[in-house]
Amino acid sequence: MALEEIAGLKFSNGSDLFKGDRLLADDCLQASFNLQIPRFCDPVQFLKQYSEDGDSNVKIQFDHGTTTLAFKFQQGVIIAVDSRATAGQWIASQTVKKVIEINRFLLGTMAGGAADCSFWERLLAKQCRLYELRNKERISVAAASKLLANMVYGYKGMGLSMGTMICGWDKRGPGLYYVDSDGTRLANYTFSVGSGSTYAYGVLDSGYRWDLSVDEAVALGRRAIYHATHRDAYSGGVVNIYHMKETGWVKVSQDDVFDLHYKYLRKE
């Protein structure tokens, strides 16, 4: 690159990353693709001692626990998520935003480690934007989900915890992919991810049809998440619903599970 020569910078291969100010600049430019991995130890072994079954008295507990779901139907994709974050049994927050707005036509959900999901999906947003600038057209859902899957595959086995659903609308119509930190990437019509997913599947599968109306689909998603929050200790808070349409995504509603419980009770 021309600027590099004028400024007199030399890009090293990263082996002497800790020496000199000049090389901090390299760090910033490359940091997005190469996370700093300490060269003196194996991160998985190192973190194991701080996990639940580890030896250390100090336990690091990452934010976990959730229920998220998404399904395709004739009017697009419905995404429904809860909003609780737990660190062990401590409820860290009831107001977490688990739907990440990648761009106007792409949404990603967050399940597993909160930091892992939000970091990698923000990075995906950057990659999608670069694609748009280079190719003068929007990235497809298949390509976006593949980018994410390939990014995390490089860190497979290092303890990342991420189970996400990439939802969007492209030339092929509504798109829904499941991507996780093991490197799995699957396409299907319905997915539910998280500790409360089994409860959500029960409700979702019994009510799902391709030809649902928008209102019916939203009600189904809301009900499925509500039931998961009721049974799963690690899910709760509010139910956030998004609808992915041909013209982009729309945030449909936010309902507190407390109110939903008594509302459904009254209806019965």
Binding site: Q89, S195, T229, H230, R231, A233, Y234, G236, V257, F258
Partner: protein, 211 residues
Amino acid sequence: MNGDADKLLAYNGGAVVAMAGKQCVALASDMRFGRDQFQTVSSQFPKLYCLGPRLYLGLTGLISDIQTVSETMQYHVNLYELNERRQVKPHVFTSMLSNHLYAKRFGPFYVESIVAGLQPKTYEPYLASLDILGGTTVSKNFSVTGTCKAQLYGMCEPLWKTDLDSMNLFEVLSQALLNAVDRDALSGWGATVCIIEPDRVTLRTLKARMD
């Protein structure tokens, strides 16, 4: 052994808190019955047991042991009342429970208990909490136990005042319990409050978060 005790005490989840007022005492528990930490089996499992007209026992920990201990203590109280032909006093009951728990010193019941009652004749409030081995602490203000002990302490310390009457005591206790369990994944799903006064005992269920 220590590690096991913590895991088993948190297996089913639960919370109990008691507070003393002016000539009254109130005891509250959540209603969750969880399994393997994640799953909620039932939201209709209060953890308060009535052992006398003005004597209640609140238990948290492993539900299997909660049921065993409460039933065994009911048996001991019944036998006492048949033999002595009078009601058991709260501090005497606490000693009975403490001894019963210590008898299993090397294979304990995984329960943490709170005894709440009014002394006969004077109707002064009596509050005691016991650990898994029967170690007893008598308190003047409040007692807390369960998976959200820390949150309960945090709620009780600033809210409790001396000589609260029964209505205010009910309000303070309810708010302390509801807000503490809302910060704990393993307790909640409803709440029961019991207020013990010299002439009556009132049991109320609270409208709580069910997530």
